[in-house]
Symmetry: C2
C-alpha cells in the first residue's frame, strides 16, 4: 500500500512540475506500462487531484491520447514569503501556478514574531477558498531555520534568535495544518532546480540577494544541509579580511557585507533611508544608463561577487550558478566583473562546466519554493493528504478542527 | 545473484573496516539472522577471504561464538601515494593493515609522467607476493583527477596537465589490473571517515597540507564531487584578495598560498632550498619551543587557516574538520589562532556542532585511502574479484596476462 501511494505521488509530482502530460509520456517517464498509468490516473481523478482532457487542437479521427491535467484551481497550498521589505501570502495551485496573492510592506527591523505572524495569517486567511483542497502550508524565511519544526534559529535582519515561527504561524492561521518552513535561498535553489534556470543541473548554486546574500546549494540534486541543516551560509564567507565592511552578523568583510544592499547603496552614494529592492534596482538602472557613480558602485560590488562565486566554483564544481533576488539585477549589470574574477580565481578544470544564469522565477523563486514545501506531503501520499486537507479547508477561517494539527502534512527540505 | 554478492561484499566491508567481528555482531549490524551470516561467512571462507577463529581468551565451557577474521596476509592490494616530497608503494592487507612498504624521495618539480610511473611500478612489483590474492590497485595523487580513468587533469606542483597517470601506471605495473586513482585529500577524507578521526561524522571536511592545501569533503557520507568530480578545491579559495602571496595556480591570496609550506617557511625566514614535511615540522617544533620568529610564522599561518576553516564551516555546517598532512602539525601549534578566527567569522549556529581534530591516520591517511580505492571492487563483488585477482597475482612480475586488464576491478570514489 505504501509503495503504491508513493507511485501515485510520483505521478502527481510529474504533473505538478511539468504540467499536463499524456499517459504515454507519463508511462515513459515512470518506466511502467500505459495500463498501469491508466489505473493510477483513475485513482487520482477519483480523488479530485487531476482530470483527463483531450489535448488541445485534436481534430483527427481515431482515439486521441488523453492528457492528465492538474486540478490547479481546486487543489492548492498557502505559501508565505517573509522577505526583507515585504510579507507575501499566496494561494498556489497544483502545478505551481500562483492563483492569488496578497502583499504587505514590512517595517525594517525590530519586528517581533507576533506582529509578523498575525499579519501573515490575516493575509493567508483572505486567500482560502472553502470547499476546495488546501493540501498544505509552506513558508520561506530570510534566516537560519531548524529542520523539522520551522524554528528560526537566527534571523539577523529582524533580530530574531530561536523564535518558533512555524508553530506560531500554524496556530495563528487556525486551519488545522502545520506550516513547513525553509530558508529563502534554500527554497529558491529547489524552485530553480524544479522549474527554473537550474532544470537538469543537479549540482547547482543559487545566490539570493536582498539586504544580505543567501545561498542554496544542491549537491547531486539534494539540498546541502550539513550536520544540522544550516549549510550554505554563503553570505558569511569572509572575502575581504583586510578592510571589510561591517556585517550584521558582527564580523566584517563577509560576502553579504561587500555585495548586499547596503554596500551597493553606500558605494553609490545614496541617501540613508533608501532601501529595498527598488532602491537597488534604481542604482543598477542608473549604472546601465551610464551614470558614473552608480556604474562604479555596481562594478565594485560585481568584483566582490565574482570573488565569492569563484570560491564557490572551486569548492563545488557546480553545473550552474544562479543569481536571484536583487543579485539578478546586479549580476546582469556586473557580468564583466563577475566573469573576470572567475577567470582569475577559479581553477580552469573547476569552472569548465559551470554556466552562470539569472533566476528564471525572479521575485517569485522563494515563494514557489515555499509552495513546493507545502505540497511535499501531498506528493508523498496523495490520498492521505486529500482526506486530511479537505477537512481543513472546509473549516471556517479562524477555527481549527480540534486536535487535528499534528496529524496533518508536514515537510522540510 | 547480484544482490547476494553485494551482501557478501557488505559483510566483507564490515570486517575490512572494523576488524574481526563475531557472527552475532555481524547479524546485528546487517539486520539479518545468524544463520544467514553463517551461510555468507562460509562462502567467504571457501573463497579464502576470511577465516573463523575462536575469540582470544575463550576458556568457558559451552559453544563460544566464532569470530570472523579478514585474511589480511593472503588478500591485499597495492596502494601508491604520489606526494609532494616522496613516492610511496605499499602492500595493504584486507582489514587496512600496511603489510610492507617502499618509499623513494622525489625530485621537486618538472618530473615527467614516465619517470614517476616507472619508479612507482618498480617499488610496487617488489611488494608482490605470488600465490596470494592481489584484489586491486589504488593510487593517491596530489592533483585534480578525472573520475573513471585516473587522468591527472591538473597537477600544478609537478607541472602536469592531462596526463594519463592511471592507465600508464597500470601498464607499467604489468600485473593485469587497472589502477584506480583519486585525489589525495579526497582519499584522506574517506580514510578518516572509515577508520580515523571522522568515524561517525557523515558531514566531514578533511584538509591536507603539503606544498599546497587539498580538501576532501563528505556530504551525507558521500564524497562531494560536483558536476565533473573536481569539487573541494579548498586550497584555491581566495582568502586574501588585497595583498595575497602568489599561488602556483597563477592567482594570488589562495588559501594554500597563505597557509602552505612556502608561506610558512618564508614567514619563518628559512633558507630557500629547504622544503618538505620535515622542514615544516622543524618550524613548528621551534615555534612550540618558543622561538620567536617561528612562533610568529605559525601564528600568521594559523590566522589564515582559521579564516579558511570559518568559511568552510559557514558553507558546509560540518560535524568535524580534520587537519591532515603537515596541517596536522600546523594546527596543533596554531589552534588558538584557528579557533579565534572561527569564533569571529563562523556563524554560531553553523559552528555549534563542528569539532576540530587532527588526522588519526597521520601520514598514512592518503595511502590508506588509496588502498580502500583498490579494495572497492572486492567489496562490491568478492567472488568475481577473487577469481580475477588471483590470476593476476600469480603471474610473474612484469608479465601481464594478455587482454586481462579491462575485465579487472576498477573503481573511483
Amino acid at each position: 500500500m505504501y509503495r503504491h501511494r508513493s507511485s501515485l505521488g510520483d505521478l502527481l509530482h510529474h504533473i505538478h512540475v511539468s504540467g499536463p502530460l499524456s499517459r504515454a509520456a507519463l508511462a515513459e517517464r515512470m518506466g511502467v506500462n500505459r495500463s498501469t498509468i491508466l489505473g493510477w490516473t483513475a485513482e487520482l481523478v477519483a480523488a479530485g487531484l487531476v482530470r483527463e482532457e483531450h489535448p488541445a487542437g485534436t481534430t483527427r479521427a481515431g482515439r486521441p491520447s488523453l492528457v492528465v491535467v492538474p486540478e490547479s484551481e481546486r487543489v492548492w497550498v498557502l505559501a508565505f514569503d517573509v522577505a526583507v521589505d515585504r510579507l507575501v501570502a499566496a494561494r498556489v495551485g497544483l502545478g505551481g501556478r500562483i492563483l492569488d496573492r496578497r502583499e504587505a510592506a514590512r517595517p525594517r527591523a525590530g519586528v517581533d514574531l507576533d506582529t509578523v505572524v498575525r499579519k501573515l495569517a490575516a493575509l493567508g486567511r483572505e486567500l482560502i477558498v472553502p470547499g476546495s483542497l488546501c493540501a498544505g502550508v509552506g513558508a520561506s524565511y530570510c534566516g537560519m531555520i531548524r529542520p523539522g519544526d520551522g524554528m528560526v534559529r537566527y534571523g539577523p535582519e529582524m533580530g530574531w534568535v530561536d523564535q518558533a515561527f512555524g508553530a506560531e504561524l500554524s496556530r495563528a492561521l487556525g486551519i488545522g495544518l502545520p506550516v513547513a518552513v525553509g530558508n529563502e535561498a534554500h527554497l529558491g535553489a529547489l524552485a530553480e532546480f524544479q522549474r527554473g534556470a537550474g532544470a537538469g543541473s543537479s549540482d547547482l548554486i543559487y545566490l539570493h540577494g536582498d539586504v544580505g546574500v543567501g545561498g542554496g546549494i544542491l549537491v547531486g540534486g539534494k539540498l546541502l544541509g550539513g550536520e544540522g541543516g544550516y549549510a550554505s551560509e554563503v553570505g558569511h564567507m569572509l572575502v575581504n579580511p583586510v578592510d571589510g565592511r561591517p556585517c550584521l552578523c558582527g564580523s566584517r568583510g563577509c560576502l553579504e557585507a561587500e555585495t548586499g544592499e547596503c554596500a551597493l547603496l553606500d558605494a553609490a552614494g545614496r541617501e540613508r533611508g533608501e532601501f529595498g529592492r527598488e532602491a537597488v534596482r534604481a542604482v543598477v538602472r542608473d549604472a546601465v544608463a551610464g551614470e558614473r557613480v552608480a556604474a562604479a558602485a555596481v562594478a565594485e560590488i560585481g568584483d566582490w561577487l565574482g570573488i565569492g562565486v569563484a570560491n564557490l566554483i572551486n569548492l563545488f564544481n557546480p553545473g550552474v550558478v544562479i543569481f536571484g533576488g536583487t543579485l539578478r539585477d546586479v549580476y546582469a549589470a556586473a557580468e564583466p566583473q563577475v566573469t573576470a574574477r572567475i577567470a582569475q580565481h577559479a581553477m580552469p578544470v573547476s569552472r569548465e562546466r559551470a554556466r552562470l544564469s539569472v533566476s528564471a522565477l525572479a521575485d517569485d523563486a522563494t515563494l514557489i519554493g515555499a509552495a513546493d514545501l507545502g505540497f511535499a506531503a501531498l506528493m508523498s501520499d496523495p490520498l492521505e493528504v486529500r482526506a486530511a486537507g479537505l477537512t481543513a479547508a472546509l473549516a471556517p477561517a479562524g477555527h481549527a478542527p480540534a486536535g487535528h494539527a499534528p496529524a496533518g502534512p508536514a515537510a522540510q527540505p
